[in-house]
Amino acid sequence: MMRNKKIWFAAMPLALVHILVLGARFFAPYDPAQQHRDAPFAPPMRIHFLDARGKFHLRPYVCARLNQTTSTGSPRYAEDCSHVWPLRFLVSQEAGVFGAAPGTTWHFLAVDAPGQVFLLGTDDYGRDQLSRLLHGGQVSLFAGLLATGLSLGLAMVLGGAAGYFGSWLDDGIMRVAEVFMALPWIYLLFALRAFLPLNVGARQSFFLLVSVIGLAGWARPSRLVRGVVLSAKQRDFVRAARGFGASSVYILRRHVLPETYAVVLTQAALLISQCILAEVTLSFLGLGVGEPVPSWGNMLAALQKYYVLENYWWMLVSGLVLVPIFILYHLLADALQARIKPSGSPEMSSLTPQRLRVAI
């Protein structure tokens, strides 16, 4: 029961983050590409419950933003609490490009026009960082999840086949896995990008990212799966099944691979954060989805510039959210590992968390 609690402790906040990100269109106050050209690098706004006289307001508000930017020089802002904009929840907003039919969207949070609400500040084009963070998560988190799925799928098939059939197939697959681990991926990606057509849309580049990260990641888990399969195929019930004339595919599917599920699940929790980090790295270097579609990596790319790093701390936010998310995923992995150990077979229990980590 105690262990279950640990899993829930990690899984619940993660689920919440994913729900927020999936519902970005609803939770984000603005379109992630909308440029507020009067507010570049506006700092995060404070949410006020108490006004200047100490009166409590049930409906929180934000103060108007006073633009103190001179005609030349970096943007400077101050709070002007003589004008306040109460936060409104669950509002519908008219949206639409110039000259086109307007549509209606629902937003979790908004303020009345012409007020603006930037809870995490804005970037160099005056785009709302909170909206970009939520929409960017769709790219970064789900690229991580899908790439992990791809990696582990490949790992199960190839690692399973290598472990079960052995001999030349085992040798072949494992040598290929070693080659994959030795490849310098970043440079390969730069080369790959040069060959692609220029007009790669956001969707195509997303799937390209997923497949590249997924392909790059199968080697290590497949070695782990192979190890588990090697031991599992010696077990008595597997021999018995073979004795009854079951086919290899049946045995693999029915008896051997289920033995690996626990290891794979733990691997998944660890691999997801690595894949998210891979996406962030690639986008940071300009190899991910292109502007104006946000991802946590291309949001961080602005920090490559010295003056941004020095002056605008809120541009770091997409890097900062990675920390709790990675910690939660690792907690989840630990909790899952702890569950495997006692219930598993003697062979399985020898894969202690420490040894697993070495294997990774």
């Binding site: 590409a33 440029q35 050209r37 570049p40 001179t70 005609s71 030349t72 020089g73 970096s74 943007p75 639409g96 490009v97 110039f98 000259g99 086109a100 039919a101 160099d124 084009y125 005056g126 040069a194 220029l198 007009n199 790669v200 849309g201 300009g286 292109g290 502007e291 104006p292 510039k305 010295y306 003056y307 941004v308 020095e310 002056n311």
Partner: protein
């Protein structure tokens, strides 16, 4: 504390340089020397100035140089006959102390300075001038200067008339012909004639050449090169300029160029005091501004420069290339209304504010406000108007689909990509703003970051692009160097490199005007002609001019004699007159390699 450490490190790293020896002894001015006396403050000799380059220079050879870092170094090593003062933008005597022009404007007779010496002590005379022009004009040498020394497609004839007198015969009268002599470095015949006769002159004077084999007439001479680290120049002890008290210039003992690969690294080194002068972009200007007093440096916003940044569409004839997709889109790009609509939709004011923090000027044609002699004040500067843009697109047959996307007459959505080089963050940001601007018209734009060389290949060779944002810098205030850009068949006719004959009536007019202004000698008449060219560019938008960034520079407060120019080399063009104020000479010498 951090400062101390930085200085200590500098001393350690410069020790090997210190071992190289003393700076050359300053030669007293001899009576037979035709020295040029410079007005301005009387400086104090000594010290070392540190500047920076983004990449290593490739050569020290003025005949073959093309890259900017090498040009910056060579500018300090060599001298020309007639020089354009980058402060006044007018010509002034240099190695030629005087000149006269024949009444038909075709013959220039130049009188050279007598008794002056190259930086290795060898005397200079008319033979060096004739030799230099022979090299630059030789087909086989392939000097990039050759094109500039042609008038109406024919080369200039050069003849020696006496030991210090040279005659230049122009094939046709040429407006502002004396500007041709600017930046044509005079070569030492005694050092290079052998290489020229052997046909190896284009390979001469690489960075591995021993300093003793390189000489020039510039204020400094080559001392040492450490690849990837720095190139050091020392004072030319025989330089032909002096201050009002007849002290031979330059004042500085040494100029070193550190190789600092990025501007951010340059900013950090400038703040740390390792680099004395810097050119920065607007964002870093804002970042540096706050520390001016604490760190004892000053920043200068020199206003608009000569660079114009623009968006242009691929209008090349693609019939010889397998690029059907771009060919299909060219149907839009060739419509003047389409380009005018794009121009009307671009929010130039937002670009100036968001990208340049206000330190830039919006542009509608190619002449920037820096060019006071040639700007056409009558050019319309319409504010951004989506209504006007939409109306222009309607007249050209475009319409809005149900989902708001713009569709052409065949019903296909209007969508194109803009190439930018990510190494220039400003241009990438301009592209992102234009992307959003055009999105409001229903045009889908992709911004494609691509390495600069790859863009050059696409623009000049393969024509495999749809649109791009690039910048051009006029080499001179005069319109003559711009012929290459605006006339069909010109080498930098970016948007239509394949256009050998004018295809549009306005292009025919531009071609004729640009040719005519080269032969008209009267400034006012030339101005009228060039005004019309600007009008045509602003009306027909072959390139859509967007913005001209201000030139922003910084220098240590103790550096005196600064005359910052909006033209390259912004702070070092008059390096011979720069000096360290007295109280700082000692400190710099304690750090610099020329300490004793």
């Amino acid at each position: 504390m951090r400062f101390r450490l930085a200085h200590a490190l500098l001393v350690v790293t410069l020790l090997p340089v210190t071992a190289l020896g003393d700076s050359p002894v300053r030669q007293a001015v001899r009576p037979e020397e035709d020295i040029l006396v410079m007005p301005g403050a009387i400086g104090q000799p000594g010290g070392r100035l540190v500047a920076s380059l983004h990449t290593d220079p490739k050569t020290l050879n003025p005949v073959t140089v093309v890259d900017l870092p090498s040009k910056e170094v060579i500018a300090l090593l060599s001298a020309d006959l007639i020089h354009i003062n980058l402060y006044t933008q007018r010509t002034e005597p240099a190695l030629a102390k005087s000149w006269n022009v024949s009444p038909d404007g075709k013959r220039y007779t130049l009188e050279m300075r007598k008794g002056i010496l190259f930086s290795d002590g060898h005397p200079f005379d008319a033979d060096d001038v004739v030799f230099s022009f022979k090299v630059y004009l030789d087909d086989k040498v392939h000097s990039p200067q050759r094109d500039l020394l042609q008038v109406g497609g024919k080369p200039i004839q050069v003849r020696k008339l006496g030991p210090y007198r040279v005659v230049f015969d122009l094939p046709a009268p040429y407006a502002a012909a004396e500007r041709l002599f600017d930046s044509v470095s005079i070569l030492p015949r005694h050092l290079l004639e052998h290489a020229y006769e052997e046909g190896t002159i284009s390979k001469a004077w690489g960075l591995a050449t021993p300093p003793a084999e390189i000489a020039g007439l510039g204020p400094f001479r080559f001392k040492q090169y450490l690849p990837g680290q720095q190139i050091v120049l020392e004072r030319n002890p025989f330089y032909w300029k002096a201050d009002a008290r007849k002290n031979r210039l330059p004042y500085l003992d040494e100029v070193a160029f550190l190789v600092v690969p990025t501007e951010d690294a340059e900013v950090i080194r400038f703040q740390a005091g390792d680099v004395d002068v810097i050119k920065v972009n607007p964002e870093n200007y804002s970042a540096l501004e706050g520390n001016q007093h604490a760190r004892d440096y000053s920043l200068y916003d020199l206003g608009a420069g000569f660079e114009y940044d623009f968006l242009f569409f691929n209008l090349n004839d693609l019939s010889a290339k397998q690029l059907p997709e771009i060919g299909r889109k060219q149907e839009w790009f060739r419509r003047t209304e389409f380009r005018q609509a794009v121009s009307a939709a671009i929010d130039r004011e937002a670009i100036v504010r968001l990208v340049y923090q206000g330190r830039a000027t919006p542009l509608w044609d190619q002449v920037t406000p820096a060019n006071k002699l040639w700007i056409n004040p009558a050019i319309q500067q319409p504010l951004r108007s989506l209504e006007r843009a939409a109306a222009l697109l309607r007249t050209a047959g475009f319409s809005r689909g149900a989902d708001g996307t713009l569709v052409d007459v065949h019903g296909s959505p209007v969508e194109f990509s803009i190439l930018t080089n990510p190494s220039n963050t400003q241009r990438t940001k301009i592209a992102t703003i234009i992307q959003d601007d055009l999105g409001q018209l229903g045009i889908k734009v992709h911004v494609v970051p691509l390495e600069f060389q790859a863009i050059m290949t696409r623009v000049f060779d393969s024509y495999d692009y749809e649109a791009s944002i690039l910048g051009l810098v006029s080499g001179d205030a005069d319109p003559n160097p711009e012929i290459n850009v605006w006339t069909s068949g010109g080498g930098t006719h970016l948007w239509a490199q394949t256009e050998t004959r004018p295809l549009a009536p306005w292009q025919t007019e531009v071609d004729a005007l640009m040719q005519r202004q080269t032969t008209v000698l009267d400034y006012r008449k030339r101005k009228q002609i060039y005004d019309r060219v600007q009008e045509l560019v602003a009306t027909y938008d072959p390139v859509i001019c967007v913005v001209s960034p201000n030139i922003l520079v910084g220098a240590k407060n103790s550096l005196a004699g600064l005359k910052p120019s909006v033209m390259r080399n912004y702070l070092l063009w008059d390096a011979e007159q720069l000096f360290w104020r007295r109280e700082t000479v000692g400190r710099r010498q304690a750090v610099g390699p020329s300490s004793h």
